[in-house]
């Protein structure tokens, strides 16, 4: 198999990691929403934690994207 074809396949496989990011972000926001519906007055105080959790979950998915880009463009 030539290198170009293998690079494309490798990058495609590495991008599957973003599915985990989608699931993780959905779980975080879903839990925040259900907690906010039960206790709306305490919801505003936890908003920074929500943003922090979202960014950390997104970061893990983007690590997979970075591997895909490294495979495509650095080898």
């Amino acid at each position: 198999m030539e290198l170009e074809a293998a690079k494309m396949i490798g990058a495609g496989l590495a991008a599957i990691a973003l599915a985990g990011a989608g699931v993780g972000i959905g779980i975080i926001f879903g839990n925040y929403l259900s907690g906010a519906m039960r206790n709306p007055s305490a919801a505003q105080k936890q908003f920074p934690n929500l943003l922090l959790g979202f960014a950390l979950a997104e970061a893990t998915g983007l690590f997979g994207l970075v591997i895909a880009l490294i495979i495509l463009f650095a080898f």
Binding site: P48, L51, F54, A55, L56, E58, A59, L62, F63, L65
Partner: protein, 244 residues
């Protein structure tokens, strides 16, 4: 029309070539935009603190809001022991925020979309926080790797896992900011290419998506600067307060 979405990240030289021995330290477009960010921050805060009225003007309000925001962030996460580090966290937050935001302007260059820039920031933070930890607690700083309430049987493996996670901090800090910025700008360029290639009939669909994506990117620019700063505060709090 072959347009490569990665061409926007090219770093090229502006002006004469200055080399220190074998290392090329000439002025590049990356340096230009870092200087633009720094000058923007300095001018906003200079104008904001010039006339100190009790009922603030708009720029003074912006200045006071950002000061309060960062100050509250530090005191909420790291406590009062981290107050001397406020100028550092503030400069870090403002620099990353302005670099991200200035990159959203058309035809500009996003400084933080290069791994070397974000890695330089993250490496300085990591080395600084480690030195602060050892300076405050001596060898007792290594107790960071031994969380409380762990059964002694699991201790060796927990220590190894904690060490690996500690060493992964600069990597995750830098790659998080770099990947968010690069992925966002690459996606914008790719959808921009779709607008052109679909022409006037079908071009409105990728255009509307690009507008929505630009709004999301502005939100992510602020969010990533906030997450960078708050994670730095958390690491600083680990070093100063040693709460594990």
């Amino acid at each position: 029309m072959s347009t490569n979405p990665m061409h926007q990240f090219n770093v090229y030289r502006i002006g004469p070539e200055i080399s220190l021995g074998n290392v090329d330290i000439s002025f590049t477009n990356a340096s230009l935009f870092m200087i633009i960010s720094a000058l923007a921050i300095i001018s906003v805060f200079f104008v904001g603190t010039k006339r100190k009225t009790i009922v603030p003007t708009k720029i003074q309000l912006l200045t006071e809001l950002s000061y309060t925001f960062v100050s509250k962030m530090i005191s909420d996460t790291a406590g009062s022991k981290a107050k001397p580090y406020f100028p550092f966290i503030f400069s870090l937050f403002m620099f990353v925020l302005f670099c991200n935001m200035i990159g959203m302007l058309p035809y500009s260059f996003t400084v933080t979309s290069h791994i070397i820039v974000t890695f330089a920031l993250a490496a300085v933070i990591f080395i600084g926080v480690t030195i602060i930890g050892f300076a405050n607690h001596g060898v007792g700083y290594l107790k960071l790797f031994i969380p409380s309430g762990v059964p002694v049987v699991l201790l060796p493996i927990i220590v190894i896992i904690e060490m690996i996670s500690y060493l992964a901090r600069p990597v995750s800090l830098s790659v998080r900011l770099f990947a968010n910025m690069m992925a966002g700008h690459t996606m914008l360029k790719v959808f921009g290419g779709f607008v052109i290639s679909l022409g006037i009939i079908g071009g409105w669909l990728p255009l509307s998506f690009t507008v929505a994506l630009t709004a999301l990117e502005i939100l992510i620019a602020f969010l990533q600067a906030y997450v960078f700063a708050i994670l730095t505060c958390i690491y600083l709090s680990d070093a100063l307060n040693l709460n594990h």
